[in-house]
């Protein structure tokens, strides 16, 4: 597949501070705050928006169907076109790409993508149950009923295949919680040690409380525009250079044991004895990366990407994702983080915002939050929005955002590029 549409730019964004519970605001008001921030930042008004995409994951959390239209209504965007996009944890990434498609197709010149989730209306255990309803309810939910359990099994197999250690996983937690210390939007900034991570309560072996992201209330908004409108409305737009989306079987048990989908620079002989994806890797992540890199003309991702915001719902899935994205070869994810290559000033800054682990994971908002933080990185406007430039990646020119659902069922990869 080769992209044929017109160029799409991101021209503004807004995010609410993610928190365990913000009962003083409902989802409509939360989106409104992020939306108004985005409009104000680009000096835009409602009339500039041609339509929207609504991004939220679960109807269970609030027991409100058609929550999307309630936001559309509250924002004053009726009767403009809108639709809801849903795909588990990747809802935000899929919606961001749906917004891209609205503009690339020429249907809209300016599209607002708004994402939200209110997870605080149920307790954490009920929340785990609702999330687990996004596993096959005939076969997987009644057996495990717990996503951390599924990811823990993948992590155990990754450790078996490649010798990945729990200390290497802990390094992801340390890095991401540490980065969040300078992100005012983050829910869980923390300065941690390997001992802190390993001594925190075991959730599902080998993943402890600090290897797992939290539930959150939050909202995020990204405004996308055609080339003409982007430069008319914004001094410093960011080009969306390529998108990719991959899928895999709903049940983890159905994943095949075949050959690696190769990226440029990889050879079949690199993976002679590897059965792929099995349960240690995400084929959907790899195929999303292949599509996005082709569209963006990337042949050496580690060299050509300056910053990555990826879906670290678990420390183990961040390590698995380095490999799927080709930041290192399969099997090298553990050493990659251990050697500091993913640090803020490492080879490529991965999750400088703190990622899901430390920023929070209000599902429908998460993938859009990544887009907003990436937009600010590539605009070099982190200082303006965070009131602190510690997390600004110097010379950030090209970035990648990655959104991920289920046990790796839907995965999106979007490459963004500074043009100024």
């Amino acid at each position: 597949m080769k992209p044929k549409g017109q160029n799409v730019y991101m021209i503004s964004g807004g995010v609410t501070k993610f928190a365990k519970a913000t009962p003083e605001m409902d989802f409509r008001l939360r989106v409104k705050k992020a939306f108004d921030y985005a409009l104000k930042d680009a000096n835009m008004s409602l009339k500039d928006i041609d339509g929207s995409v609504a991004s939220y994951f679960s109807d269970h959390f609030q027991r409100q169907l058609m929550a999307g239209i309630m936001v559309q209504d509250y924002l004053g965007l009726t009767p403009k076109p809108s639709k809801r996009v849903e795909g588990g944890g990747a809802t935000g990434g899929l919606s961001f790409q749906a917004g891209y498609e609205e503009v690339a197709s020429g249907r809209m010149d300016v599209c607002a993508v708004y994402g939200f989730e209110t997870m605080s209306h149920v307790n954490t255990w009920k929340g785990n149950e609702f999330i687990a309803l996004a596993s096959d309810t005939n076969f997987d939910y009644p057996v495990g009923g717990f996503y951390t359990g599924y990811y823990a099994m993948m992590a155990v197999r990754h450790m078996h295949e490649y010798g990945t250690t729990v200390e290497q996983l802990a390094k992801v937690s340390i890095k991401n919680h540490g980065n969040a210390m300078n992100n005012p939007y983050a829910q869980s900034p923390m300065k941690l040690t390997v001992e802190d991570v390993r001594n925190s309560p075991m959730v599902a072996y080998p993943l402890t409380r600090l290897d797992v992201c939290t539930m959150s209330d939050g909202a995020a908004v990204a405004i996308l525009a055609s080339e003409e409108k982007a430069f008319e409305l914004c001094d410093n737009p960011v080009l969306i250079k390529g998108i990719g989306t991959g899928t895999d079987t709903m049940r983890l048990s159905d994943r095949p044991f075949g050959k690696v989908l190769l990226l440029p620079g990889e050879k079949e002989s690199d993976y002679k004895n590897l059965q792929y994806p099995g349960v240690h890797s995400f084929r959907a992540g790899r195929s999303a990366a292949i599509e996005a890199y082709r569209a963006a003309g990337i042949t050496d991702p580690l060299d050509e990407l300056d910053v990555v915001e990826l879906h670290d719902a678990y420390t183990s899935s961040e390590v698995q994702t380095y490999e799927d994205l080709g930041l290192c070869k399969y099997g090298e994810g553990g050493p990659f983080v251990e050697e500091g290559k993913a640090n803020l000033h490492g080879k490529v800054a991965v999750n400088p915002s703190g990622g899901l682990l430390a920023t929070g994971h209000p599902v429908g908002a998460t993938g859009i939050m990544q887009g907003v933080f990436m937009f600010w990185q590539l605009q070099h406007s982190i200082k303006k929005h965070f009131k602190d430039d510690t997390l600004q990646v110097p010379n950030a020119k090209r970035g990648l955002i990655h959104s991920h659902a289920g046990t790796g069922t839907y995965v999106t990869v979007t490459v963004m590029e500074a043009v100024k």
Binding site: W125, R157, P201, S253
Partner: protein, 164 residues
């Protein structure tokens, strides 16, 4: 015509639990029984009552699944039922110390993915009869079946195979 300007809604004792007043946070209850059909996968659940674990085999390409699956993901053809061996090996494992609300009272519990000789895909199940420290990739496990069925995939579970 029954226009009654003094009409009043009946007063009841059905109040609402209030958790907080600013903002106002109340309890909202929800409960439902579904009429859930296992449809084309019904045979899998019936077979568990006969102490048989049924997977699927593609009639066209021969790909074998350790799970029920009406059509083949490799070629799209219809599958047929295929009896799995009663013994397999642990492909991967975990022990869950927390979980969803429905299973919280069962924690800690072990989850495993089972690989069967000559079968192309895995099967997810609970394992009992072992401590966490005993769990190893490659350990031999055997399927056992509940006598009183719940008509759930947990009607089959696995136990370690005794060392010879």
């Amino acid at each position: 015509m029954t226009l009654n300007p003094n009409a009043r809604m009946e007063e009841t004792q059905n109040g609402t639990e209030v958790y907080n007043v600013d903002p106002l946070i109340v309890k909202s209850h929800y409960e439902i029984d579904y009429i859930h059909s296992y449809a084309q996968d019904s045979e899998f659940f019936r077979a568990l009552g006969k102490k048989k674990l049924m997977g699927s085999k593609c009639k066209e390409c021969g790909y074998t699944y350790a799970t029920p699956r009406g059509h083949c993901m490799m070629c799209g053809a219809e599958t047929e039922w295929y009896q799995l061996p009663n013994e397999g090996k642990v492909h991967t494992f975990t022990t869950c110390y927390f979980g969803g609300e429905e299973f919280l009272s069962e924690t800690p519990f072990h989850l495993i993915m089972v690989e069967f000789e000559g079968v192309n895909s895995l099967f997810m199940a609970r394992l009992i009869g072992a401590d966490h420290e005993d769990l190893k990739i490659g350990m031999k496990v055997r399927a056992r079946f509940r006598r009183n069925l719940r008509i759930s995939p947990t009607d089959v579970y696995f136990v370690p195979v005794a060392e010879e």
